[in-house]
């Protein structure tokens, strides 16, 4: 039996994509009442974790199980791997209890990436709903780090309530930039909320991007993405420039277990990020 020591984890992981790699939790951050981020220190030779914005990892809590979680950190900071998720299931709830110094298993990165290269020279509109902001954050880091390459950048973000807004500090920082448009709306609010109330799609008509020269990236619940696509189309964005991130029951992460099949694609392998035009016909098929 081969024992997987830290020094050769990388090598084994490449050949045995089903074997998880133990990573150390560097910091556990509570984002909202039910969402949290884990900052992991990659193990192995290089202490670096290379990924493209939009990719996900299979995270394994010892003894509890494994779930796909998108990477939410800065792709340029390879020594700091960040995931953000909501504590809803057993695994994510157990993950929420992890503290600095604990160990978490990582397999990945898997899946396709947001089209940051294709978007160069164009306006970029990012539409996020709920926890869907997490997989888009690496894109924003990338866009802002390479600000000169892009036209207008707009983030349209819908959350449930003001308390559910993710990454508040980061958003504040971005809000103060003049080269970054940000619109946030919540589904319901009480008290002192001075921002927008209403669904995220209502932000689309008024955000200042050029529909003919833009790339749109959407991440959120499927129904929100469906409505968003309609609204973007209404503004004249062509569907091959709209990208969506899909979600299904991913188990292996490498397209070999069949659980995340969506028609002719496996989401873990062919997605999770798709050009909308590629899956438009699958998008509204029931129980596919």
């Amino acid at each position: 039996m081969a024992t997987m020591s830290d020094s050769k984890t990388n090598e084994i992981n490449l050949t045995e994509p089903m074997i998880t790699r133990p990573f150390r939790v560097n910091r556990a951050i509570k984002d909202t009442h039910d969402t949290f981020s884990l900052e992991l220190t990659p193990s192995g030779n290089s202490n670096k974790f290379d990924f493209a914005p939009g990719q996900f990892n299979m995270l394994y809590v010892f003894g509890v199980g494994e779930v796909p979680i998108s990477i939410s950190g800065d792709p340029a900071k390879q020594s700091k791997l960040v995931h953000t998720t909501r504590a809803v299931g057993n695994v994510t709830k157990a993950m929420n209890k992890l503290k600095a110094g604990d160990t978490l298993g990582v397999r990945g990165p898997f899946g396709t990436a947001w089209p940051v290269k294709e978007a160069e020279g164009e306006d970029v509109v990012l539409v996020a709903g709920g926890i869907g902001l997490a997989p888009l954050r690496p894109v924003i880091y990338h866009l802002l780090a390479n600000r000169g390459q892009y036209g207008k950048i707009a983030l349209l973000y819908g959350a449930r309530t003001p308390e559910d807004i993710l990454f508040q500090k980061t958003l504040e920082k971005w809000r103060s930039r003049f080269d970054f448009e940000m619109y946030i709306t919540v589904d319901r609010a009480t008290g002192n909320w001075k921002g927008n109330v209403g669904v995220v799609t209502q932000l689309i008509p008024r955000s200042p991007f050029d529909p003919l020269n833009c790339v749109a990236m959407i991440c959120g619940p499927e129904i929100m993405m469906r409505f968003t696509v309609l609204e973007l189309e209404k503004r004249g964005v062509t569907t091959n420039k709209i990208y969506v991130s899909m979600e299904r029951n991913m188990k292996c992460g490498i397209g070999l277990c069949g659980h995340c099949q969506l028609g002719r694609t496996f989401i873990c392998k062919d997605g999770a990020v798709y050009p909308y035009s590629q899956i438009a016909d699958l998008f509204t098929k029931r129980e596919l």
Binding site: M18, I19, V64, V88, G105, I254, E287
Partner: protein, 376 residues
């Protein structure tokens, strides 16, 4: 895995009485020989330890939802077509431990499962099943990620095909272009001829390993007549194959009927029990199961055959995507006959008929596909 020979296929004659010698060589070479034997009134591919365990003198009668063995008047070794199991159970086992992990206070350690697959010799692989193995090769070894366990088992496996000289009632390999004869991808291929007087095998070689076996056996080359006899037997098989699935435009026709009401009709009969997928030689879906001991100090990860008929299969926080039975049957059929082509460039169905025979209520993929298209 058979290595391509530089020569074209050669033909030899193996007398029925010499089949034992072939097996003896395999045993000598320390192959784990898997061959058809009878278990609980069905043909099953089980490990055998001696030639005597190979079954002889049986044919099978298969109907939707029914399988019965009967005596073979010609007393052949391979008079039946296929049993319910397929070779995937050796190449891609139903339960496979992936790793163990141990926790010490805060860190855990992963211990890979080091058990390697044995060196198999498969005797009696039918052409449809050979195609099924090729499909699994494509999926499990030619994508961006390789299932190394599969690949290792596959690389070491010796494949002896038996071409079909009898068509089962549920066979439709000819429609799917997967049989009844194999042309490549094997080490040896046998065509059994038993006409009352003579009983022998025409042996085709498909690889260097195959050639080596033949030369060790010292077989004589086949005559033109003998080659023709075998060809005729196979032609007869095609002529006798009554089940037909018209594959012209099948992929598109199935896809165009996603919202057909006919799916509801199937759903009334479908038990969503999963038998069709489990007996399918190409279905590869698997579940990844993580378990622990009571103390929470040891954990295991296992891969298990899964089927697209369960609610859990598409479970995403709080609910299943495919809640209705019809959507689950639809998923299976459309995958086999339509989306599989998009994914892997081939049908996911090889026409072996197992899913028809072993469906407890006889749902017939070929018939349902036909009805579905005609009902639109």
């Amino acid at each position: 895995m058979p290595q391509e020979t530089d020569k074209k296929i050669s033909h030899y004659i193996l007398k029925a009485t010499e089949l034992k010698s072939l097996l003896d060589i395999l045993f000598q070479r320390e192959y784990h020989v898997i061959a058809p034997s009878i278990r609980d009134k069905s043909i099953e591919y089980d490990p055998i330890a001696s030639f005597d365990e190979i079954t002889r003198g049986w044919i099978d009668h298969q109907k939707p939802g029914s399988y019965r063995l009967a005596n073979d008047e010609q007393d052949r070794f391979f008079g039946y077509v296929v049993g319910f199991s397929s070779w995937k159970k050796y190449l891609y086992p139903a339960d496979k431990k992936l790793f163990e992990a141990e926790m010490d206070t805060k860190n855990f350690r992963v211990i890979e499962d080091g058990t390697a697959a044995p060196k198999y010799a498969f005797l009696g692989v039918r052409s449809c099943d050979l195609k099924a193995i090729e499909i699994l090769d494509k999926i499990l070894t030619e994508g961006p990620y390789v299932d190394l366990d599969y690949k290792r088992a596959r690389d070491n496996a010796l494949i002896i095909v038996v071409n079909c000289t009898r068509a089962g009632e549920n066979c439709f390999c000819y429609s799917m272009g997967t049989g009844p004869r194999a042309y490549s991808g094997f080490d040896l291929a046998l065509t059994e001829i038993s006409d009352g007087e003579k009983h022998y095998f025409l042996v085709d070689t498909g690889s260097r390993s195959g050639e080596e076996l033949i030369s060790e056996l010292g077989l004589s080359s086949a005559s033109e007549d003998e080659i023709k006899t075998a060809e005729k037997a196979i032609e007869q098989t095609i002529a006798n194959m009554s089940k037909i699935l018209n594959t012209d435009g099948l992929k598109e026709k199935i896809w165009a009927n996603l919202d057909s009401l006919y799916w509801d009709e199937i759903a009334e009969r479908c038990l969503n029990c999963g038998n069709c997928t489990l007996v399918c030689p190409t279905c590869f879906c698997a579940d990844i199961e993580d378990t622990t001991d009571i103390a929470g100090e040891k954990a295991n990860r296992t891969r298990k055959w899964d089927v697209c008929y369960t609610l859990n299969f598409t479970y995403v926080h709080g609910g299943s995507i495919r809640t209705s039975c019809k959507s689950r049957y639809r998923q299976w059929l459309t995958h086999k006959l339509s989306t599989w082509i998009d994914q892997f460039g081939m049908f996911g169905c090889v026409g072996c008929g197992r899913c028809i025979t072993w469906c407890p209520v006889g749902i017939d993929i070929a018939e349902e596909a036909k009805q579905l298209i005609e009902s639109s």
